[in-house]
């Protein structure tokens, strides 16, 4: 096996759901030994499906498999003192901890950062929650939808005469997960220089600050409160959106130099080069309905591939509107070997999303997700428990 960037690093992943586990998955992909510590009933993401044939099973949930590939699973009831004792031993040999409990809960169990730092001064302790450890909303209930709402992203997404629209797929949680992954890596750089661990407070809501493209800027610099308008992009860039075409949908983005000539060529009406809507982007933006009377019929008469190929030849960054089916079947992604097959216990061969970037020296690793408690026994033995101990812990419901 090729070297990995984080060989030798051990992470305890005590988080559940999407954000924290995705951070752990990225660390595992970079080569860290990630031990997922789950309550005996499992990470709640194990119950979220989708399940093969829609039959629920804690080891077969697609989302869980997606988020936990390459980790080990230990079951542990940390609400018991015996469970906490095991966790402390595990943490003694770990470089980083990721957790996603409501703020204050681990402290109430004696497992807060302040409880652990004296004994484990080098530990990077990363908390991932919807709204963070501090501030007036710290104790609020949250999810991706709530974070999209409070970040303002939702207000600018969707149609003006309809309700604001959330980006699908619990998207905000992935922002939080990537942020937590960065945060752990940055804290480890700090530790390499100082030997000191620390507490990192990651809020999914805060992680959307990077997605504040020009929404608050429009108010803070112009006094204009932006409102959703067909999910339209920053205004001089119109059109930059999805339209129906003959065999599906296409993203029309004209790029830096698409008007007036390349777009007129694409639409096979060269005289449009002199049309005011092609000459002046503000006229086009304001008279957008008239512009679309020109654009839409052309798109409806052509297939996506034809439109995309011709637009790209004209150096306009049009894009294809992909679905899971077309992604899995795509020639480009296939040549880049993006999707990989893993042998998932109880499920069989499954294709999963592979490396999200390619490193020349330390390629990312992919693996199946662990079954619930798959590694409990082995890891307890590693920690110095004997076979009787592991049996007793299991019988008492600690593991």
């Amino acid at each position: 096996m090729a070297e990995a960037a984080l060989d030798g690093l051990r992470v305890v992943d005590l988080s559940q759901g999407i954000a924290g586990p995705y951070a752990g998955k990225l660390l595992a992909g970079c080569g860290a030994d990630v031990i997922k510590v789950e309550p005996p009933q499992g990470d709640y993401a194990r119950r979220l499906g989708p399940f093969p044939g829609d039959e629920p099973h804690h080891d077969k949930g697609g989302l869980f498999v997606h988020l936990n590939g390459g980790k080990k699973s230990v079951t542990l009831d940390i609400e018991t003192e015996s469970g906490r004792a095991v966790l402390r031993k595990l943490l003694a040999g770990a470089d980083a901890l990721i957790e996603s409990h409501p703020p204050g809960h681990l402290s109430s169990l004696g497992l807060g950062y302040d409880d652990l730092k004296a004994g484990l001064p080098g530990l990077v302790y990363c908390s991932v929650t919807p709204f963070g450890q501090t501030g007036p909303y710290a104790d609020f209930q949250g999810n991706s939808l709530a974070c999209l709402a409070l970040s303002g992203l939702m207000y600018v997404t969707g149609d003006p005469d309809k309700e604001p629209l959330a980006t699908g797929g619990e998207a905000a949680d992935y922002f939080g997960g990537v942020t937590a992954w960065i945060a752990v890596l940055a804290a480890l750089e700090h530790r390499a220089k100082t030997n000191d661990g620390q507490h990192v407070d990651v809020a999914v809501l805060d992680s959307l600050g990077t997605a504040d493209e020009y929404n608050t800027a429009m108010y803070a610099s112009l006094g204009a409160i932006r409102k959703r308008f067909h999910s339209r992009h920053h205004f001089p860039a119109y059109p930059s959106e999805i339209y129906p075409c003959r065999d599906g949908h296409i993203v029309v983005v004209f790029g830096a130099n698409g008007f007036p000539l390349p777009m007129a060529i694409l639409l096979e009406q060269i005289e449009l080069e002199n049309n005011p809507m092609f000459q002046n982007h503000w006229i086009r933006f304001i008279q957008w309905q008239q512009f679309e009377e020109i654009l839409r019929p052309y798109l409806l008469e052509h297939d996506w591939r034809d439109i995309l190929t011709r637009a790209q030849e004209l150096r306009m960054p049009f894009g294809r509107v992909m679905t899971p089916s077309t992604l899995l079947d795509d020639e480009h992604l296939s040549e880049r070997e993006f999707f990989v097959e893993v042998e998932q216990p109880d499920v069989g061969e499954v294709r999963i999303a592979g490396p999200v970037f390619k490193m020349s020296e330390t390629p990312l690793r992919q693996g199946p997700a662990p079954t619930l408690g798959e590694h409990t026994h082995d890891i307890l033995l590693d920690l110095g428990y004997d076979a009787d101990d592991t049996r007793i812990l299991r019988e008492r419901g600690v593991t």
Partner: protein, 450 residues
């Protein structure tokens, strides 16, 4: 007492432009690296044209773009125009002085100029280099140009974003740009960890399309396991019911909420003083609430309409119900939670304080990552970098300026008046069209900036 930022002492040569690449390098900057951003005066970063402070486009407006500030705060700026062969030569002379190179061109550009990774590695073997491009460095689409607006649909996210029964929709921003920029920053940190341990650099090929595909994990796995493609369900959840976005008092104010289980449903009914809803057998369990979602939406809206959206959030959260106000951009700037968390740094730049959203949503106990400085003016650090690091003489600098290799003013292909018309936003038209909710001339007072 906050310590040094963890990347202090590292230097980044940042050839990236627009959004994704500059987000990656700005995170590295916030973590302590010295980032030198490279632009050409014939090809300045296009986001220098977006959201000009006060919409005043005379003078050097390209140094007053709020959009540019967000992506480039804290960096240094040099100009090197790649139309001239001296520019790539100067890049090669800079490479021994840097640890990391970031770039976001289509793959053929750097190779054309002889400064692709293979060439740079010969100059500095332990260099860490990342290319962020739309579709990656290999594969049949590698040379396709790409903006974030096309990559969100191309990564599959739009296939499950949209109103029920409607077309796929994009998020109202370049969604994959900030996302893949963050992924890029993490990739660089992973490469730095490897370099610290082994002394070896490496090259990172990041396809912005691929980086964002995992956001569709649930839908992808449903396709893999069950052969199904997603339906668009508006704001509803595959798991919980009810979930949605509901109208509140006011013209365009909304509340989202998610009821995750039966206990939360009863808590909600009590909180809104409609205990009879909890008694209704149609709504007694999750399948029932899914099946009668339309009726539930009407009932819930009948309650939310009477409330201010922020007031409703507090009332419901006080009862343990997952609810959040849909904040508009002005409300985001004024929100007490975000203020207390330091969501915005207040940066003094070009005649006033500018709220600047942080690009890394993590708060570290051992060091600070707040924004260090405003965005650089075009070419502001030409002398510091080219003379300080490379030791160019005044004569050599003058020659480069003469040849328009360096400079502090863009060279436009069109008259400056045309550019000024391009970057000035017709706010009153926006208001009439409905793409802005209001234009408030006293916004600086409202934000407490004056």
């Amino acid at each position: 007492m906050p310590g040094d930022r963890p990347l202090a002492g590292l230097r980044v040569l940042d050839l990236a432009q627009v959004y994704a690449g500059p987000t990656c390098s700005r995170i590295l900057s916030d973590l302590g690296a010295e980032v030198i951003k490279v632009e050409g005066i014939h090809r300045v970063d296009i986001v220098r044209n977006f959201v000009i402070y006060d919409n005043k486009t005379q003078d050097d407006y390209f140094n007053r773009a709020h959009y540019f500030l967000l992506r480039n705060a804290g960096k240094k700026s040099i100009t090197l125009d790649f139309q001239d062969p001296r520019a790539p030569e100067l890049v090669k002379r800079l490479v021994p002085h840097v640890d990391i190179v970031t770039e976001s061109f289509t793959p053929r550009v750097l190779a054309q100029h002889g400064i692709a990774y293979d060439s740079l590695r010969e100059i500095k073997p332990d260099i860490v280099m990342i290319s962020l491009s739309g579709y990656g460095q290999t594969g049949p689409w590698r040379d396709y140009t790409a903006y974030g607006m096309a990559l969100e649909p191309a990564s599959g996210i739009s296939s499950f974003t949209g109103y029920r029964g409607g077309d796929p929709l994009r998020t109202g921003i370049s969604f994959t740009d900030p996302y893949s920029g963050m992924v890029g920053a993490g990739a660089v940190l992973a490469a730095l960890a490897y370099r610290r341990r082994t002394g070896k650099g490496q090259y990172i090929d990041l396809s912005e399309q691929e980086a964002a595909i995992p956001v569709g994990g649930y839908a992808l796995m449903d396709r893999v396991l069950n052969g199904r493609d997603p339906e668009r369900t508006g704001n509803r959840s595959p798991w919980f019911a009810p979930q949605g976005c509901y109208p509140c008092r006011g013209d365009d104010d909304w509340l989202v909420l998610t009821i995750r289980d039966d206990a939360e449903w009863r808590a909600f009914c009590d909180a809104v003083a409609h205990p009879e809803w909890a008694e209704d057998e149609r709504f007694a369990d999750v399948p029932g609430r899914h099946a009668h979602h339309d009726q539930l939406d009407e009932l819930i809206a009948s309650w939310t309409r009477e409330y201010d959206h922020v007031e409703a959030m507090h009332l419901l959260q006080g009862a343990g119900v997952l609810a959040a106000a849909v904040l508009n951009p002005k409300e985001v700037l004024l929100d007490p939670h975000l203020r207390e968390r330091g969501y915005f740094d207040m940066i003094e730049d070009r005649g006033g304080v500018r709220p600047t959203a942080r690009q890394l949503g993590a708060r570290f106990s051992a060091f600070d990552t707040s924004t260090t400085a405003p965005a650089p003016k075009l070419g502001e650090h030409n002398r510091e970098v080219l003379q300080g690091l490379l030791g160019l003489s005044d004569e050599e600098m003058a020659e480069l300026a003469e040849g328009k290799v360096i400079g502090d003013t863009p060279e436009f292909a069109v008259p400056i008046q045309v550019m000024q018309a391009f970057v000035q936003w017709p706010l009153q038209s926006f208001l009439q069209m409905g793409c802005v909710r209001a234009v408030e001339p006293d916004y600086r007072q409202q934000l407490g900036l004056d």
